[in-house]
């Protein structure tokens, strides 16, 4: 009988995010793009928040981005996240335009800076699910 280890709170994978999370599980970061006004956006939803069109499609993101702002969480009451402190939460501006909330990983939390170049990396989370996170660009081992 093993003690149940708390697991990472998981996203909603149905509805507008279904395709996104399926691609993430396969190691690819999709970005929603409106084919009516040609603009990208985050987060996924059935209609474009810029023009209202339902002609929303996906493009494959380059996986590159820049830290727009961030914070290092030092304390948490959440059963999972309290085992992970300190960790960096950031708004990363994707090279395709929109900003997404994520974690910056694979580096000391005190090295995270605004303007830092980052690249996507996926953390496996449960069955058929992977969470996109970012690490310093060029830090692949």
């Amino acid at each position: 009988m093993s003690e149940k280890t708390p697991s990472r709170p998981l996203p909603e994978t149905r509805n507008a995010g279904e395709k996104f999370w399926k691609a993430a599980a396969e190691g690819s970061l999709l970005v929603p793009k409106c084919t009516a006004c040609a603009r990208t956006f985050w987060h996924p939803r059935p209609r474009c928040p810029h023009c209202g069109s339902n002609r929303v499609d996906w493009i494959k993101g380059s996986g590159g981005g820049t830290v727009h702002t961030f914070t290092v969480v030092r304390q948490s009451g959440d059963p999972f996240f309290k085992t992970r402190v300190p960790y960096a939460v950031a708004m990363v501006e994707l090279d395709e335009g929109p900003r997404m909330m994520t974690n910056v990983v694979d580096c000391p939390v005190d090295s995270v800076k605004i303007g830092m170049r980052v690249e996507v990396v996926f953390e496996a989370a449960g069955e058929n699910l992977a969470i996109p996170m970012f690490r310093p660009a060029g830090s692949a081992k």
Binding site: R8, P9, L10, P11, E12, G17, W42, H43, P44, P49, H68, T69, F70, T71, V72, V73, R74, Q75, S76, G77, D78, F80, F81, R84, Y87, V89, A90, M91, R99, M100, M101, T102, N103, I114, G115, A125, I131
Partner: protein
């Protein structure tokens, strides 16, 4: 359409708090009702006069109906609009329009929470965007931390300047007999307090307390016959720019720009006309954003403005009660901003009274600077 014809048509005739403290034996609806009854009593009105009920709290599904049940009222106007801590500030604008249009005559606006006694942390109905869930951002703390970080990066705002917001709040609180944290703190104290979510430290964050408050509004003509000096609602404005942190277009500016502009235009006044300012300060960075977006200084100058002083004796007194940082903070703080502004305008503030206060600005933020509402109040003479 211009809103100037609404300016000064409605007055606040009662303002009260209830149940502010660390412990309580009362429920949230009881505290709201007590605040409403005290505010009515100030005015010389009774619950039978009330035909407009405005309320918000995270505790109930239909807060205005819960409050009306508690008081035995069937109103002609009801409003539980929730834009977080800005809600009751927005309700003022709604009540003005309901009274001027003749929909109701006497409106009450109320809020309460017993979050201190219910676990000692923020009680909120806030939902997290499903796409944000896996990343462990503290709500709303990490959102504000990211605003602070970006403001420091873009504008050279210093940690010391942000700490000074909390120090000023403590100086005001030391003059407020109702403040729950009246002891003075220094910049060094703030910077030595534990990091919670960088660069945000414990003393950058509001208190967690119980409490409630209420105000009463009626037409200018009816207000003249009541007990307390009437405080005119000169301007109101509201907006929201996003709901979730992920959807913020800017991490250094807020829809306070738009809500402030609407309030100034309706009042025919500007920032220079304000004698006292109450800006929701759940986190120190909010005061800088508010001062900038409401035009008290240019964007990015908030830190330097705080250096010049916002505490007792300064040219622009901000958060004269001690604010959410040091007075009390039962969650959505808007009602306490309004009550303090009314008391300053009535010259009831004792040691913390700002002399010759004729105009006051109140700005509420909700969520992570999502909801914004601005109210400009004034007294005659």
């Amino acid at each position: 359409m211009s809103q100037t014809h609404l300016s000064g048509q409605v007055s606040i005739v009662g303002a009260a708090t209830a149940g502010i403290g660390w412990e309580t034996g009362n429920s949230v609806s009881e505290i709201m009702a007590e605040a409403v009854l005290s505010a009515l009593d100030e005015a010389g009105l009774s619950v039978r006069d009330v035909d407009g009920v405005f309320a918000v709290t995270p505790y109930y599904w239909m807060p205005s109906a819960t409050l009306a049940d508690q008081l035995g009222i069937q109103p002609k106007v009801t409003d539980s609009t929730n834009i977080g801590g800005a809600s009751v500030v927005a309700h003022v604008g709604h009540a003005v329009r309901a009274i001027v249009s003749g929909q109701c005559e006497v409106a009450v606006i109320a809020y309460a929470s017993t979050q201190r006694s219910d676990g000692g942390k923020l009680v909120t109905g806030a939902d997290i965007l499903p796409f944000e869930r896996p990343y462990g951002a503290l709500f709303p703390i990490s959102g504000y931390a990211m605003l602070m970080q970006r403001h420091m990066y873009e504008h050279g705002t210093t940690r010391e300047q942000l700490a000074q917001v909390a120090v000023s709040a403590s100086q005001w609180a030391s003059l407020n007999p109702d403040a729950l944290k009246p002891e003075a703190i220094s910049v060094a104290d703030v910077l030595a307090s534990p990091l919670i979510s960088d660069p945000l430290r414990k003393l950058d964050i509001c208190l967690v307390t119980n409490g409630g408050g209420a105000i009463v509004l009626t037409s200018r003509d009816r207000a003249k016959k009541l007990r307390k000096p009437a405080i005119s609602v000169l301007g109101t404005g509201e907006s929201h720019s996003h709901c979730y942190v992920s959807n913020m277009r800017s991490y250094t500016a807020t829809a306070g720009v738009e809500s402030g502009r609407a309030a100034y235009e309706m009042a025919g006044l500007g920032p220079k006309d304000m004698d006292v300012v109450q800006i929701y300060d759940a986190f120190t960075i909010m005061v800088l954003l508010g001062l900038e977006d409401l035009g008290f200084c240019a964007k990015g100058e908030g830190g330097r403005m705080v250096d010049r002083g916002i505490g007792p004796g300064s040219k622009l007194p901000v958060n004269t009660s001690g604010g959410g940082l040091r007075y009390c903070h039962p969650g959505m703080f808007g009602i306490f901003l309004l009550v303090e502004a009314v008391r300053q305008l009535r010259n009831e503030c004792g040691k913390r009274q700002v002399e010759n206060t004729r105009r006051a600005l109140v700005h509420g933020f909700g969520g992570v600077v999502a909801g914004n509402a601005t109210v400009i109040l004034g007294r005659d003479g």
